[in-house]
Every structure is written in C-alpha cells, then in structure tokens.
Symmetry: C2
Subunit: 277 residues, 2 copies
Amino acid sequence: MRHACLGGGARLRPLLCHAVSQAGGGTDEDARAPANAIEFLHCASLVHDDLPCFDDAAERRGQPSVHAAYGESLAVLTGDALIVGAFQTLTNKSVKPAHLPALLRRISDAVSANRGIIGGQAWECEPNVVLTRYHRAKTGALFEAAARCGAIVSGQFEDHWADFGALIGEAYQVADDLHDALEARGMGKPAGQDRAHGRPNAVLTLGLPNALERLEQLLDAAFDAVPECQDPRPINSWLAAVAARLQPTNVQLPSEDPLCAEATLPDAIGEDLHAPR
Amino acid sequence: MRHACLGGGARLRPLLCHAVSQAGGGTDEDARAPANAIEFLHCASLVHDDLPCFDDAAERRGQPSVHAAYGESLAVLTGDALIVGAFQTLTNKSVKPAHLPALLRRISDAVSANRGIIGGQAWECEPNVVLTRYHRAKTGALFEAAARCGAIVSGQFEDHWADFGALIGEAYQVADDLHDALEARGMGKPAGQDRAHGRPNAVLTLGLPNALERLEQLLDAAFDAVPECQDPRPINSWLAAVAARLQPTNVQLPSEDPLCAEATLPDAIGEDLHAPR
C-alpha cells in the first residue's frame, strides 16, 4: 500500500479538493479526509490497471508496479485494501457527521461500476465506446468528486462545481491519451499502451490535431466553469499549474502521420462541451 | 455482479444483521442497507479469492466462478465494483444519518487490511500464522460487523454483540475448514483447497478430533454470548439454523488418519475462547 501511494504522483485530485475547499473558506483539516480518500481510490485504480490481466505494466511512476514488486496476489489485495482504506478514511474524526452522507455518496459514485472508474475500465472491454462518456467515467468522475467534496466540506453548493470538475477530468484524460500516443518521455510508465491494447484513445479516435484542439477547448471551458466563490485564487493557481502540466510540449504534426488521417471533430463531442451534464 | 451475488449462498451474514436488529426491536428496513452491504463485501471476497492468482477455482456455489464465466479482467472489476457497491448501499435513504458513521466504521474495518478480510487473505501468504487471529480477520470480522450493525440500527449497545459475532464467525471458519479437509459433498466448490495451497486450516493444524471439538466449543460459547435483548427469539432461531448447518454429518475418525496425529488442543486456543477480545 505504501509502494502504491508514496512512490510519486502529482496529487492533482486531492490538491483540487483542497483548492475548492479553500475557495469556499475551508481549512486544510476540513478537506483532508475526502482528499486522501480520493487519492487512495486513484492509486487503487492504478494498481489494478497495471495487473497482468489489464495493462500488464511492469512500471508505474518510474518504479516497478505493485504486481512486479510484490506479486499478483498482493497487488490484487493492495488495490482492494486501498479501496476499503478510502472509505475507512471517511470515518476520521475530522469529518463532520453532517457532511458524511454527501461525501460518501459522491466518492462512492465516482469509482462505481455504474457511473465511475470501474465502469470506465469495464468499457475498455467493449468494441465500441462513446469517448466522452468513457473519459467521464474513467477519469472525469473522480475529478468531479474531488471538486464536489471540496465544496461540501466548505459549505458551498456542490452542484456549482460539478461542470468544472468534470471538464478538468476530461481534459486530463485527453492529455494522458496524447502522452500515451506520442510516447512522451518522463511519464514513468510504458507509452503506446492504448494502441497496443486496442483501447479508446482520443488521438486514435480524433487524430492528433483534433485531440490537441480538444484539450485546449476543455481547459478553456474549465476556466470558464469556475463558479463565483469566496476566494478564487487557490483554484486559479491549481488550474494554471494543471494546464501547464497537461499541455504536451514539442508536438510535431507530420502530415503523413496516420494519426492525422481523421480530420473532423465530431459535432457530438463539440456540443457536449457546452452541456456537460 | 449478478452472477457473483445471485447464484446462491446462505446469506448467513445479512440474516445475522437482521436477526440482531429484530432482537432489539428494529424493522427489516432498518437493517437492509448494512445487511446488503455486508453480503456484497462477502461476495466480493469470494470473487477475488477464486482468481487464478489465489485459489484458481473454476467453480463457486455449483456454478462457474466469475473469472471462469467472464474472464479474469471482469472478475477483478466485479470484486472491485461489489466493494464500492457496498459503500454506495450505505448512502441509501433507509440509513439514518445518525447511524452512518458507526456503520461505515464497522463495515470498513471488517474488510480492511489491518483488521479484516483483506488482512486475513494476505496472511495466507505468510509462512506462520496464528490460526485464531487469521480466522477472526478472514471470517470473524465480517460476522462481528453484521452483529454490530444489527445492534446499531436498532439502538442497542453494539459492544454487547461483539463477542457473539466474533465467536460465530470463528465457528464458521472452523466448519469451513472441516468441510474443506473432509472433502464434504455439496459445497459447490472444489474441496481440499487448503492443503493444496498450503493454507492455514484448523484440521491440518489441530487434527480432526480437536477441530470437531473446537467447533462445538465455539458454538456453545456463541450461545452463551447472546446478550440480554428485547426479543431473543430471532437470534436463537438464526443460531440454531446455523449450528445445524455448520456441524458436519457422518464424520468418521479412522485411527490411522494422519489428520488425527496431533492429539492435544493447545492451551492458548482453549483460553482465548473465554477471552475473545
């Protein structure tokens, strides 16, 4: 569990939870339990995604993946234990009893089979997937939960943060797809995995230029979706740091690249940027 | 998820939760969410236990195991989804907000790496295990949680039910070991798995006569541990049904059986029957 959680990682989701809480006047203590729970769930998803029956990835964050280091049995149990540990974390005394029902609902939904990460992962087994829905479940849901939980613990109306969270989550997934497709260096995990495993990937589906355009659209939409709040500075700082991190550098667009073959951005995807729920 | 949950099973744990709730004057509605959550977690543990990296069991409850029916990837996700689904279930409106913190704590602890099922499963990877502690974590913890949750939702003092729940859980594990070692018919899963996988098993550790004696001791102790309550009939009915189910029938004790070699019941095990915490 330590290997899975303490071996690096940008902590984007817990930092988002803290930033939204701070934007509403919340303290670090207010956001700590849901922020940690969300990071545990993210780490759990990575441990199980790396298993031989999924990505069979030997590396994660520049270190051996959990199953490579400790064997498959303990990797399955580590993921299970991190899921359970996330919900144990919500029993911490820092969680106000009045906030617990909403936190539990948002966090459990975000990783669930019906609306969350597990559903997204299961869709990878399907022959046809709507890219936007897949990304929302696999990645967007937990970002949205992080934003909502930050709002809940600081007494803000959580629905005001839903679009922002979902958009930033989708942007993150498109950026991740770009890095995977471009075999970006420095990600600490094998690149080109989506193509190798026949998984949905924005670059493979949209072509490289459209995927880059889509990332920019999503980040712009996220900026626009920050709601009125007591102090927007923490969330603007978080967003600027994330945008800098997500945008790939030194991208070349060779005209003969088969990734560029599909030239049009489907209307449906452009549309639902403006109506994300 | 349906295959894992609806393919049979005795529902001992949720029925225990309902029986303890009824013993304290609770309604079926009061106990439903925690009872279902506990059964989901039990089913999740079976799905992951059956995986190739653990028992590699092709059958469960007389049907193909989840990984045999749907493949390893979906079996991992099914177990994950049932764990998450258990905690989603606690967000049902039938759960009184005042009860949620205690329910979440008891249920998450009972399946956790530190005190629950996942810890018990991980101990199977260890060369030496204290049998009582292993059984308490792997099986007893969830029975204890079922009893405690029944008490919580009906306004009883949950600690009064802790010893009862832990004892019945340990009795169940010893009975399961007896069935495994005796290759009992009608269990719907392959028998002799503990010996094949080098796992702790009460029969292999204590010898057959002592394991049978231990089961009887544990059931007697559980009967004695039922606390004073508004209506003891539901719990006595449950306990009688379980005792009838757990005790193996037609056990022969051939004197040349190597399982009978170890003749003495270790003092430590006899002692902690009387001081189970």
